[in-house]
Amino acid sequence: MNFDDTPQEAEYRAHARKWVKDNAPDDLMQEFAAAEEIRDRDARTAQIVRVAKIWQKRKADGGWACLSWPREYGGRGATPIQRVIWDQEEGVYGALSGPFAIGQGMCGPTVMAYATEEQKRRYLPPLASGEEVWCQMFSEPAGGSDLAGLRTRAERDGDDWIINGQKIWTTGAHFCDYGILITRSDPNVAKHKGLTMFFLDMKSPGVEVRPIKQASGHSGFNEVYFTNVRIPDSQRLGKVNDGWNVSLTTLMNERFSIGARLATGVPEFFEFASQTKLADGSLAIDDKAVRSKLATWAARSNGLKYTAYRAISALSRGERPGPENSIGKLVAAPMTQDIAMYALDLQGQMGAISRDDATPAGKLYQTLFHAIGMRIAGGTDEVMRNIIAERVLGLPGDIRVDKDVPFNKIPTRGR
């Protein structure tokens, strides 16, 4: 048991480290941080994407973009563990590539699995190099946890499909060039059996992107409306009505993010408690109630870290980590919410102040709202528990009353 690289891994790490050192984008990081201060959403986005593209292109030129992809599609055929080593060495600079995360992490693998060779050679390299940005359009107002309940229609019209409907929670739609889109192509069959996947140009006529205002007041996501949008059948991914299986490729890649650092709120709370005095003049971290809570949170946070290390070790042995890695978000999301509430409480009435530089726990204030989304995005706490119960522990699935029922016969209102 050790934390050491194998000789090959060590060599790869040295190589990556040198490249990062030689190409360190500290200037870009400053611009990236400065963008956070820009209040206008479009201007802020523009600056973030501009900076991201510079760094991504630099990585692509150096051979570090999408490095586990085949060379012919813009990668370098790296192993999963090499990918992890790169991520570790890229470190904080990895944040710069945020705008490409979904495109490269989810759309790319789907295109790779289902597009024609010609399409792959056309679309994957610029996706890898950041020259073109992709988004993923799955969620709908009526299809959240029940993704297959989606209603966006695709109707065949000659060599094209006509799309009408609405997607929601689309990250980056407002700055993306392309997107993958799942639609309902046959409402007369059971819900999983009538879906078809496409990719499309986000500038297509009839596509309208609108920002969603979140509970916090910020706008990080979009709604995308489709009005008679025309997609050539050649941009279909997978077979007609086989979109559910195609989407599983995409989603499997969503959950396959080993060692991705989830915000747990623990370091922030530790720092806060180490600096903040309570009403009786004592330091918060000397308070027994604070210590007891922090110890539990710290142990859970540490547990996530070392669970990721175990997964990396499995990768290093050439194994593929399983669904047990889905515990990360389930542990982190509600915990950050609890931590934020407790940090506010320890400050008394001043804890209510929302300007994040105004109070010692200001950063934790933002978590109060961030946690709401974190507990839902990519599967609610309840869905994650179901996944663990069913896929890890082998317990039965929920009873499916809509199984084998034609989609258009499934009730849409509870009462």
């Binding site: 969620s139 009526a142 959240g144 946890s145 029940d146 309940g149 929601i168 929670w169 969603i212 205002k213 979140q214 509970a215 916090s216 007041g217 005095k277 309570l278 009403a279 009786d280 003049g281 109630a289 919410q337 509430m341 506010l344 409480d345 320890l346 400050q347 008394g348 009435q349 001043m350 804890g351 209510a352 102040i353 929302s354 300007r355 105004a358 109070t359 010692p360 204030y365 109060l368 709202f369 709401i372 989304g373 507990r375 839902i376 609610t380 706490d381 309840e382 528990r385 179901n386 929920d398 499916r400 009353v401 809509d402 029922v405 499934i410 009730p411 849409t412 209102r413 509870g414 009462r415």
Partner: protein, 375 residues
């Protein structure tokens, strides 16, 4: 035993709820949230016209002369409706302080104006991080002038007068702390808006620069008076919280009945059912504890401090749980600005800190339990 409100009081509840459901929908709440106004004047005026601001103010001072139980009723409805009005500052705090410690002249000067809705009051107490203690009070009151900064004053921007907790004598203990009435329209007062988790309630940082101050009670008695009024107010805030908790529970229940997933209402999944059951349990316990607080408040019982702390701990936990779980039940919709879930999430987190943190009231509950057991 009649551990419940009377029929007349229930009528008052119905009347208040009807008024608020007509004039104070979430449309009005959102107007304040979005900064269109600092509070809802129409609701405030309506409350005054119905006699609800001065409900507990004696008739000789322009009030309705009813009791504290009626205040509890109104508080619950205001909490339920998320009313964006300075009721707690004006009624639970300023008005109660005046009634408890004010001279006849002071009462005559302010109480009628409060009852009529013409004067909004505020309590200027907090001077920094943490729950206030006598030691934390640095703002000074000398020669009839107040100087210093109160870092967070609820309704500070919209209030007409404030009761300022200030140090009237040297030292750092309770003996030097007094209460002072300051007319905020006078010279030497400035207020800067502070945004909090719940912008539907106004907050400000207030700076006093030799502002004219009228002592309310004797210096040295200020802290004791304040403590007593905070206990009373805690019961009333608990009623706001149980009103909010009930509403959040209803919202969650309704959404769970309507929203379909996997061909079923999501409320048919045990994960959701049990989440809502836990909310119901918390809300029920909090309501029962609030009722006990109401009894102690209305009879000015010796148990008031313990009953108030008990009500606050229970109501804070219930409202936070209900608001948080309601948001979770709503899934992605709960994460949007458009749905009302975040209004309760905001308010629950604001009220959790009002008049002192959960930790503060937990400690007060234990202290009072020990006193009772020692006696």
């Amino acid at each position: 035993m009649n551990f419940d409100f009377s029929d007349e009081q229930k009528q008052l509840r119905d009347q208040t709820r009807r008024f608020l459901s007509e004039t104070c929908t979430t449309k009005e709440v959102r107007a304040v949230l979005e900064g269109k106004h600092k509070f809802d004047r129409a609701v405030w005026k309506g409350l005054a016209d119905l006699g609800l601001i001065g409900v507990a103010i004696p008739e000789e001072f322009g009030g309705a002369g009813a009791g504290r139980l009626e205040l509890c009723i109104v508080a619950e409805e205001l909490g339920r409706a998320l009313a964006p009005v300075p009721y707690s500052s004006t009624v639970y705090l300023a008005s109660e302080l005046l009634m408890l410690a004010g001279s006849d002249a002071q009462k005559k000067a302010w109480l009628p104006r409060i009852a009529s809705g013409d004067a909004i009051g505020a309590l200027a107490l907090v001077e920094g991080i943490g729950d206030p203690t006598p030691r934390s009070i640095k703002v000074s009151a000398r020669d009839g002038k107040i100087t210093g900064t109160k870092t967070l004053v609820p309704d500070g921007e919209i209030a007409d007068f404030a009761i300022v907790v200030a140090r009237g004598k040297a030292g750092d203990d309770e003996r030097g702390v007094g209460l002072y009435i300051v007319d905020l329209k006078g010279a030497g007062v400035s207020a800067k808006a502070i945004e909090t988790v719940d912008p539907t309630r106004n907050h400000a940082e207030m700076t006093f620069n030799a502002a004219a101050a009228d002592p309310l009670g004797a210096t040295g008695e200020g802290w004791a008076t304040l403590t007593k009024v905070l206990d009373r107010a805690a019961v009333l805030v608990a009623f706001e919280q149980i009103g909010g908790a009930d509403r959040a529970l209803e919202m969650g229940r309704d959404y769970a009945l309507d929203r379909m997933a996997f061909g079923r209402p999501i409320g048919s999944f045990q994960a959701i059912k049990h989440m809502l059951a836990d909310m119901y349990v918390a809300a029920t316990l909090a309501r029962s504890n609030a009722y006990y607080g109401a009894w102690a408040l209305s009879t000015d019982a010796g148990e008031l401090a313990e009953a108030a702390a008990n009500a606050r701990v229970s109501a804070t936990q219930a409202y936070q749980l209900c608001a948080k779980n309601n948001t979770q039940v709503h899934g992605g919709m709960g994460f949007t600005w458009e749905f009302d879930c975040h209004l309760h999430y905001r308010r629950s987190n604001l009220l959790a800190l009002s008049l002192g943190s959960l930790t503060f009231w937990e400690n007060r509950l234990i202290d009072e339990m020990r006193k009772r057991n020692a006696a």
